[in-house]
Structure formats: structure tokens, C-alpha cells
């Protein structure tokens, strides 16, 4: 079986700084793949290059064997690779429902003539249905008329995932979805992530929260100083002395 995502020899150089150095790994269909490492290891840079928010210096990213390197992020999203953001990047001024409705862009985008004449009504109704489904799936249905800014942190993160899911991704890239969450919120988010995977979406998870990472991921890539330090199951990685040293600091 071909992997859904292949990262090949990805390198990113910012001036004199080699942020990501020749990183390669792959993600299988239906897998939750963790991307971990100490601060400054190059996780976020790698993540942004996959999602098309940064152009790599060299190397390539293959999604289902199609080269998506250097493509515009909106195009990568339309192809089926959708990212979430660190912190709470939401349409704060809009309602929960509108937030998710914007996520349905791929299925509902329309041209100006159809919009003015109302020829796209069926398409828009389908988008509204899809939005309602996603809201129920993520447990946000009761909150749909609230402004996004009014939600508690845990639900804002859930909303961020809901927006991405509305875009019907094949591969979801999650950027630190557990940051700053309390144990209750973490547990809820883990359940949601697992449910997303069960619905048939492969996931790449960049995360610092080890409990979440070890509990959720099938395989992990450990980055350190821009290179791959280890690649394997959570148990293998946990027992690798190099990884332990990287996290605790060499003495």
C-alpha cells in the first residue's frame, strides 16, 4: 500500500540557519502519525512546508504520489491536505455555524452569476447540511449560534478541528491542538481526535503533550536540531536513549 503522505529529503534553510535538514518520513492511510521533538527542533517548519505555508529549500512532499511541494496552500487544501493552527485561529467575529460553513468552501464555492441569481441554492443547502453534520460530530451543535470568541478554550480547539473537517480532508495536519489544555479538555480532545481517525481521516499530529501523543499515535517521528532522531512506535521511541537525552539534555 502506498502511503498517503511521503516527505522526502525536506530541507529548509533560513539564511545561515539550517532549520530542517534532510527530513524524510511517511504517513500511512488511516494512521495517526506524531511529529515530536524539543523546542526549536524544526517541527513547525516541517509542518508549514507540508501545508504549503512555507517553500522548502529542497526536497519534496508527495500526497498520494502527487507532488504538492511549493503549491499554494489553498490548492493543497483543495487536494485534501488540511491543516489546523496553533493557538485559536478562528473567525472570532462570526458564529460557530458560520465558522464551519466557511470550512465547506471546497464543495460550496460558487461563481458570481450563480450567486446573484440563486442558481447555487442546492449546493448551498448541501453545505448547510454538511455543516450541521460536522457540528454534531464534534459536539458543537448546541453552540452553533454563539460567537466563536465566546467559546471556552477546549471548544474553540474543537471548532478549529470542525472547520478543517468541513473541508473534507483526507489528511489532517494538527498543530499543537492540546497546548494549554487542562486534563479534562485533553481527554475530550483525545476522544475527538480518535473519532476523526475512525471516520477515515489520516492525521499528522505535532504536539508537546506526551500523554496525548503516546495515547493517540501509531508511529512517531522525533526531530532534533532539524534532523530525524528516531522513527517508530511510541514504545520504541520512549525507550531510545538518544531521545531521552535529547529531551532531558545531554550531561
Amino acid at each position: 500500500m502506498t502511503p498517503i503522505l511521503e516527505v522526502k529529503n525536506l530541507t529548509m534553510r533560513f539564511g545561515g540557519l539550517l532549520a530542517v535538514d534532510n527530513v524524510s518520513f511517511s504517513v500511512n492511510e488511516g494512521e495517526i502519525r506524531g511529529l515530536i521533538g524539543p523546542n526549536g527542533a524544526g517541527k513547525s517548519t516541517t509542518f508549514k512546508m507540508i501545508a504549503g505555508f512555507l517553500s522548502p529549500t529542497s526536497g519534496e512532499v508527495l500526497f498520494r504520489n502527487n507532488n504538492i511541494t511549493n503549491q499554494r496552500s489553498s490548492r493543497i487544501a483543495s487536494a485534501g491536505v488540511v491543516r489546523t493552527f496553533q493557538e485559536t485561529t478562528l473567525f472570532q467575529e462570526l458564529t460557530v455555524f458560520e465558522n464551519v460553513l466557511i470550512g465547506t468552501h471546497k464543495q460550496a464555492h460558487t461563481n458570481i452569476i450563480a450567486a446573484v441569481l440563486g442558481l447555487d441554492r442546492q449546493k448551498q443547502n448541501e453545505a448547510i447540511e454538511a455543516t450541521t453534520e460536522v457540528l454534531e460530530f464534534m459536539g458543537l451543535a448546541e453552540r452553533k449560534n454563539q460567537l466563536a470568541a465566546e467559546l471556552p478554550l477546549g471548544l474553540q480547539r474543537a471548532l478549529a478541528v470542525a472547520i478543517s473537517l468541513a473541508a473534507k480532508p483526507n489528511l489532517l495536519l494538527m498543530d499543537e491542538p492540546f497546548a494549554g489544555m487542562n486534563p479534562e479538555e485533553t481527554r475530550h480532545m483525545m476522544e475527538l481526535t480518535e473519532r476523526v481517525r475512525e471516520s477515515g481521516v489520516s492525521i499528522v499530529l505535532v504536539e508537546h503533550n506526551m500523554k496525548a501523543v503516546m495515547g493517540l499515535c501509531d508511529r512517531l517521528v522525533v526531530l532534533n536540531f532539524g534532523t530525524v532522531l528516531d522513527d517508530g512506535t511510541p514504545d520504541q521511541v520512549r525507550n531510545n536513549p538518544n531521545v531521552i537525552q535529547a529531551y532531558l539534555g545531554g550531561g
Binding site: R72, S74, T89, F91, Q92, L94, V116
Partner: protein
């Protein structure tokens, strides 16, 4: 709600149809320009929906005005054809300009759009043939339809009312469609919109082109009434008026800009007697609104309601 809207609109249009018959000649002129300015601010609103405030809207109006004026005068082509052509030309110029301009955002876009606008406006001044230089071009033919005399203000007002109503309705439909929602998304969080597949560049271009198209039509409507088109009509001074109308009216809702244009134009008309004071009063009004009513006139009913409720609560 629906019935109330229909009722309100029919009342409004009945009033607008009767109104010019009770006005003096110069007031009828004023009513025509006011109606055209409504299309100017509403089309500007579409551009600002993506969060980019441009300073080129007045010049785009001029592009439409010059297009329609020169084609109808030099090639003897009917107003009914040059009117849509004015919109198409303004839209095309906007499309061309979008390539350099949308490489900039925010403040740089503001300045860039001003520079591009001035470049176009100075072209009209420099190239006496065909544009007519500083003095512009006059003797622009007025529309012809059956035996209606469009040199008279009342028939021309009805023409403007119909065209503007159609355009404003179309703009309203666009804003309340999926496209409007996407434009809001591009404004509030461009990167997030991009992450679900919205090409933000394309949507900024779309808003800019469509907004320019409609203001081009407004420009044609204006100069075919005055009979003269000149660079002065579309300078930065007029652009500042557009900005003030939108800010004073409010830009959260569709009708805010319309209220701003109407109220300030009427204020301006009242001040006609005290010519020297007009700029000062205009400036003071703007500062007052930014300080005390940043939401614009559109937020006034809500503010009053809140105040009223607060008073009642403190009374009981």
C-alpha cells in the same frame, strides 16, 4: 420581517418618485448626485469587505466616466451601450491593477492604490488627445429613449434611480451569498480561509473588480448628466468624501454606508449658505464620529436602546 421590508421599500420608492416634483431645480440636481453617490459607497463597501481600504475607488469611477463619455461622443454610440461598457472597462483596469496592487496589504496597499490612481488621473491631464487635459471633455451626449428629454432633471433622476436600484440590489445579493461569506472570511482570518481551500488572492481580486465595475457605471451616470468629464471630479478630495461617508455611516452592515452618504450629503447641502465653514464642520463631524460613535450611524439605534434600557433599570 419580509412583509415589513416590502412595505418599507414600497413606501421609500413611492416617496422617491414623488419627491423631485416638490424640489427646486438645484435640489433636483442634488438628488441625482446623491443617488449616484449611494452606488459609489455601496460598491466601495464590496472592496472593503476583504479588509483592504483602497484610495483608487474615485479614479475607477472616472475610468467608467471617461470610457462612456469618450466612446459616446467620438463614435456616436448610444448611452445604453456605453453605460455597461463603462463598467466593463473599470473592471478590466481593476483586474490589470490587481496584479501589482495585491502584492501589498494594509497600509502599503492603501498607498499603492493611491499612487496607481494618481497615475491614471494624471494620464487624463497629460494626454490632451483624447482625454481633454485639465479642462476635460464636454458636450457629452445625453441618453436617448423615445421622446424623453434626459436633459431635464426629473426624467434623468428616474433613470438614475432605476439603474442604481438594480446595481445596489445586485451588490446586496453578492454580499449575502456564499461569496460574501467568503469575503468576510478572507478579511477576518486570511490564513485560516486559505487553509480550507480559499484562494484569498482570487477573492480580493473579485471584490476589487466587481466593486470597480459598479463604480464605473456610477461614473458614467454622473457625466452623462453634467455633460462634462474632468480629472478634478475624481481626485483624492472626492475619495476622502467616500471614506468619510463610509466611516460616519458605519461599515458593519450593508446599509451603513448608504446612511452615511445620505446624511452627510444633506448636511453638506444645508451648509451651502456658509461656504467657508463647510470643510471645518465636515472635519469636526468626522472626528466626532470616530471618537464617540466608532460604529457609525448604523449603531445609533442600538446605542439609544441600550441607554434607554439602562435608564429604565436604574429607575426601578
Amino acid at each position: 420581517m419580509r412583509i415589513r421590508t416590502v412595505f418599507f421599500l414600497s413606501l421609500l420608492y413611492a416617496a422617491l418618485i414623488v419627491l423631485p416634483h416638490f424640489l427646486k431645480y438645484h435640489q433636483q440636481d442634488f438628488l441625482i448626485f446623491l443617488t449616484i453617490n449611494i452606488l459609489v459607497v455601496v460598491s466601495y463597501r464590496l472592496v472593503t469587505l476583504t479588509g483592504e481600504w483602497s484610495l483608487i475607488h474615485a479614479v475607477m469611477m472616472g475610468v467608467g466616466a471617461y470610457t462612456s463619455a469618450l466612446i459616446s461622443k467620438n463614435f456616436d454610440i448610444s448611452f445604453w451601450i456605453t453605460l455597461p461598457l463603462a463598467g466593463v472597462m473599470a473592471g478590466l483596469v481593476a483586474l490589470l491593477l490587481s496584479y501589482p496592487l495585491f502584492r501589498m496589504t494594509q497600509f502599503y496597499f492603501l498607498i499603492g492604490s493611491f499612487a496607481a490612481g494618481e497615475a491614471i488621473r494624471l494620464t487624463w491631464i497629460q494626454f490632451i488627445k483624447p482625454f481633454g487635459g485639465t479642462g476635460g471633455t464636454s458636450a457629452i451626449p445625453s441618453p436617448e429613449l423615445m421622446n424623453i428629454d434626459f436633459l431635464e432633471p426629473i426624467p434623468y433622476f428616474y433613470l438614475v434611480l432605476i439603474v442604481v436600484s438594480i446595481c445596489v440590489y445586485l451588490l446586496y445579493r453578492i454580499e449575502n451569498s456564499r461569496i460574501g461569506l467568503t469575503l468576510h472570511a478572507v478579511h477576518w482570518k486570511g490564513v485560516l480561509a486559505e487553509s480550507v481551500g480559499v484562494n484569498t488572492w482570487n477573492y480580493r481580486t473579485l471584490a476589487f473588480v466587481i466593486g470597480s465595475l459598479f463604480v464605473g457605471i456610477a461614473g458614467a451616470l454622473k457625466v452623462h448628466y453634467i455633460g462634462t468629464v474632468a480629472p478634478k471630479q475624481f481626485d483624492i478630495g472626492f475619495m476622502v468624501f467616500i471614506l468619510i461617508w463610509v466611516i460616519v455611516g458605519g461599515y458593519r452592515t450593508f446599509y451603513g454606508a448608504i446612511i452615511g452618504a445620505v446624511v452627510l450629503s444633506i448636511l453638506d447641502e444645508i451648509l451651502r449658505g456658509v461656504e467657508q465653514l463647510r470643510p471645518a464642520i465636515y472635519g469636526a463631524t468626522l472626528i466626532f464620529f470616530i471618537l464617540y460613535l466608532p460604529g457609525g450611524l448604523e449603531s445609533l439605534p442600538q446605542k439609544i436602546r441600550q441607554k434607554f434600557r439602562a435608564n429604565r433599570e436604574s429607575a426601578t
